[in-house]
């Protein structure tokens, strides 16, 4: 014990990694350099830091051990081989289980097996090679094998201590005694019998998977992938179709809405996106009128026969040039509109706006007609509901509905007022439930609207938007007289907005507002 054992049993040291190419002149030089590098890299892997991994006794060459220990070294070598083989078998079996699971999944789901099989085969080979390399790198040293032998044979660390001291040349009496003691104990033990070659524990599972995979691939020779067939059969079944149909319908609707949003103007997209569901409700509102056209038509006829609705509401919007009989205020309104058109002519834009107005009237006429039909189709239910909440007519409520949403221009003020009056007269003839808008009546109407969406927006929009069509004018007094000049600060908003304008002419950010306004107005009128 003259010298510390750790000092003599030096660990493998990290040498400088030299990447010099052995034969630079030949074409094999890069490969040789790579081989040298890989060898050095592999030789460095087993070296562990004592601080982190504990003591590591290097796998010393058998020739360096004491001659007395040769027999023990031979026994340990056999044990090492068996440990290595068992570890390798276990690793490969585990890996093969995963590969087989992959193969089974492939056979179940993949319609074309060729590419998948090739991929799995390459993966399996790579994994097996990696396991082989890893196992070899972590193969037990003689010292590790001795420790395992000590543990298996209850030798109380005799052989591991003997192996550790086996390379000590100048050993004293105690080491010799220890070595003798260890050898005598090992001789009494069937060391190789303690480390048999064992089949891995999961071998049965792997064999079952092999059989399953073989059966599946035999099936696949003449058949399609079972999982695909099963899915197709299931998809055709009525039960699945009944479950999937509403979902598919919803998805299609969402897709349409998304497409509509994408095709909208860039400035409108932001507004529509912000509003979210309300936008969808808007579009449903417009589309709903088309969908319910037939039903609305029938309802309109019924209503006309019953005489519940006034004649002016039954009239098409395109015929508004001809004022309905007995409505003086409406005539006034139209005459003012004519005056406005004349003033447009004086600005040089009247022809263009008239042409656009004519086109719009044609297209808007159809949509307004449709909207009227829809409104009439809703009216019987609303009237039925309103009868329960009848209130005395209130004259103050009607002008409020006309004036509260007026555009800011002077001309518009006039028109809005006149329109409000006309509305008042019309509504006064209809039902007694309109007026100041009692809370009770409104609540009932909202309930009713939930069941029957309001479809009367287009015609209302046209009426409301007509106030924007002209420029604001100012009276300017000069020496020669007074003249009306157009204000440059005011932009023309109503070029295309004449009676019966389409909803597209309303800025997107105002559509929801306008719709809500008319919903409110409907609550008051019906």
């Amino acid at each position: 014990m003259a010298e510390p054992l750790w000092g003599r049993l030096s660990l493998r040291s990290f040498g400088k990694t030299n990447f010099t190419v052995p034969d630079e002149g030949s074409g094999r030089a890069p490969f040789l350099a790579l081989r040298v590098f890989s060898r050095r890299l592999l030789s460095l892997v087993p070296v562990q830091s004592r601080n982190e991994q504990g003591p590591v006794v290097p796998d010393v060459d058998a020739q360096e051990y004491s001659p007395e220990l040769r027999g023990l070294i031979g026994t340990l070598k056999a044990i090492r081989h068996r440990i290595l083989a068992n570890t390798l078998l276990l690793g490969w079996t585990k890996w093969s289980v995963w590969v087989l699971i992959g193969l089974i999944a492939l056979a179940l789901a993949e319609s074309r097996l060729g590419g998948g099989l090739l991929f799995v085969a390459i993966l399996a080979l790579l994994g097996a090679a990696a396991i082989l390399v890893w196992t070899w790198q972590n193969r037990p040293s003689a010292y590790d094998a001795a420790r395992q032998l000590d543990s298996a044979a209850d030798l109380k660390d005799r052989t591991s201590t003997a192996i550790y001291l086996g390379v000590v040349k100048d050993h004293d009496g105690m080491i010799e005694e220890q070595r003798r003691d260890a050898l005598s104990r090992v001789a009494k033990v069937d060391a190789r019998g303690l480390f048999p070659l064992r089949w891995p524990g999961n071998l049965r599972g792997a064999l079952v998977l092999v059989l399953l995979a073989a059966g599946l691939f035999a099936y696949r020779v003449h058949h399609k992938a079972p999982l695909v067939s099963l899915l197709q059969t299931t998809a055709r079944s009525r039960l699945v179709q009944s479950i999937l149909a509403p979902i598919v319908h919803e998805v299609e609707k969402d897709l349409q809405r998304t497409m509509a949003l994408v095709t909208m103007k860039p400035d409108a997209i932001g507004d529509e996106t912000r509003r979210g569901d309300s936008v969808a409700g808007d579009e449903d509102l417009w589309k709903g009128s088309d969908d319910k056209a037939a039903e609305a038509k029938d309802n309109q006829q019924d209503a006309a026969e019953a005489g519940d609705l006034p004649q002016d509401q039954l009239q098409a919007p395109g015929d508004q040039d001809t004022p309905p009989s007995g409505d003086a205020n409406q005539e006034e309104s139209n005459s003012q509109s004519q005056e406005g058109k004349n003033s447009d002519n004086s600005n040089g834009k009247s022809q263009q706006s008239e042409q656009q107005g004519a086109e719009n009237r044609q297209s808007l006429g159809q949509s307004l007609m449709q909207a009227l039909k829809n409104m009439m189709s809703n009216s019987p239910n609303q009237q039925t509901n309103n009868r329960a909440n009848q209130q005395p007519p209130n004259g103050q409520g009607t002008p409020q509905s006309g004036n509260s949403h007026q555009p800011g221009t002077t001309e518009s003020d006039k028109r809005g007022e006149s329109r409000g009056n006309s509305d008042a007269k019309q509504k006064a003839t209809q039902t007694a439930s309109e007026g100041a808008g009692s809370q009770q009546g409104n609540k009932e109407l909202r309930k009713d609207q939930d069941a029957h969406p309001v479809n009367a927006v287009p015609d209302r929009v046209a009426l409301e938007a007509s106030g924007f069509k002209e420029q604001t004018r100012m009276n300017v007094a000069t020496e020669t007289g007074t003249a009306q000049l157009a204000s440059r600060d005011q932009s023309l908003q109503g070029d295309a907005v004449v009676n019966g304008a389409e909803q597209e002419n309303i800025p997107a950010r105002y559509r929801l507002y306008v719709q809500r306004y008319f919903e409110h107005a409907d609550n008051g009128t019906h």
């Binding site: 014990m1 201590t161 010799e176 005694e177 220890q178």
Partner: protein, 339 residues
């Protein structure tokens, strides 16, 4: 009686292997002699013998009447060494332990101060009920236990080898006791718990002590042989994985240990390096007594509690949770793999 005790150079002339075998035989004889008077308590007896050969001291803890004092006295007889006993009491002063300078008159009538050695100048010292003395008196043992010398009036006096202190103490929860300071606790190689005897042992104790005359103990080994045994013990090799296991165990008792959350939760101060030394040295003695020439992991595990239980100081949380040093150490050892 002394004929059975070997001569001073007898063991040293033999080969080391034979000396080791002789050591094991001698210790077996000592065990048998002790068992004449001490019934059962095999672990305590083994612990005391291991500590004697490892060159350490032992703290015996147990209730009164369990044979602690009897064990020390019997051992002193078996190893044929001088034996002193100090009964520690609250009014015991350090000078009563280590000695003091007194005025002495020589032959021609001159008077001078001379050192009067205390009872500590012996080979086997029994410090009975050490925790009943004040800390000041307890600390008087510190230098003697570690340095094997005492200093009085700037003069150091060496103690005779082998010097072996066996202190006994009652459990700390008993009234009128002063817990030993940590520094002094660390000086003890082992802290051995003396358990109550079992049914058969109790019958045996009653038979031996209440009938006829008490058995006599013959000396088996002497002082020089014990010192030679101590030298042999240190030649026993330790495999690196065994030493690594000791290091892991010691580090695992440190509250700063990142690997062991148990220590950081319940331990205020972990084991000092003396704890690791104790494990290795004790393992060596145990291996020799077991007829082996190498330390095994089993030796380390067997000595873990007696070596470390007094070196770790538990925190308040451990006391609140009712955890003891023993069960914490066992749990720590269970979590540490020797591989």
């Amino acid at each position: 009686m002394t004929s059975s005790v070997g001569t001073e150079g007898q063991m040293g002339s033999q080969p080391l292997g034979q000396q080791a075998e002789s050591l094991a035989e001698k210790m077996g004889e000592v065990r048998r002699e002790i068992s004449k008077l001490i019934v059962g308590q095999t672990e305590v007896v083994d612990g005391v013998l291991i500590a004697l050969l490892a060159g350490g001291h032992v703290l015996l803890e147990g209730a009164p009447g369990l044979g602690k004092t009897m064990l020390v006295r019997t051992l002193a007889q078996a190893v044929a060494q001088k034996y002193s006993r100090i009964q520690f009491t609250p009014d015991l002063m350090p000078a009563d332990v280590i000695g003091t300078s007194v005025v002495q008159e020589n032959g021609d009538g001159r008077k001078s101060l001379g050192f009067q050695p205390g009872p500590i100048f012996t080979n086997l010292l029994l410090a009975d009920e050490i925790n009943r003395a004040t800390p000041k008196t307890q600390s008087a043992l510190l230098e003697a236990m570690q340095e094997k010398q005492v200093t009085v009036a700037h003069t150091s006096h060496l103690l005779e080898e082998p010097f072996f202190v066996m202190a006994t103490q009652n459990p700390l929860e008993m009234e009128g006791t002063y817990p030993l300071p940590e520094a002094q606790l660390d000086r003890f190689l082992f802290k051995l718990r003396v358990p109550y005897p079992g049914r058969e042992d109790l019958h045996d104790i009653l038979d031996r002590t209440t009938q006829g005359s008490a058995a006599t103990v013959r000396p088996v080994v002497n002082g020089p042989q014990i010192l030679e045994m101590r030298r042999i013990v240190r030649t026993v090799p330790v495999a690196p994985h065994v030493q690594e296991y000791v290091v892991k165990l010691t580090l695992a008792t440190h509250p700063e240990s990142r690997e062991n959350l148990l220590a950081s939760k319940y331990i205020r101060y972990g084991s000092s390096p003396r704890g690791a030394q104790t494990l290795i040295l004790g393992g060596k003695v145990r291996a020799l007594l077991d007829g082996r020439y190498n330390v095994s992991l089993e030796d380390i595990r067997a000595l873990l509690l007696s070596s470390l239980r007094h070196r770790i100081i538990l925190n308040f949380e451990a006391q609140a949770d009712g955890r003891t040093a023993d069960d914490l150490l066992e749990e720590i050892a269970g979590k540490i793999s020797p591989n």
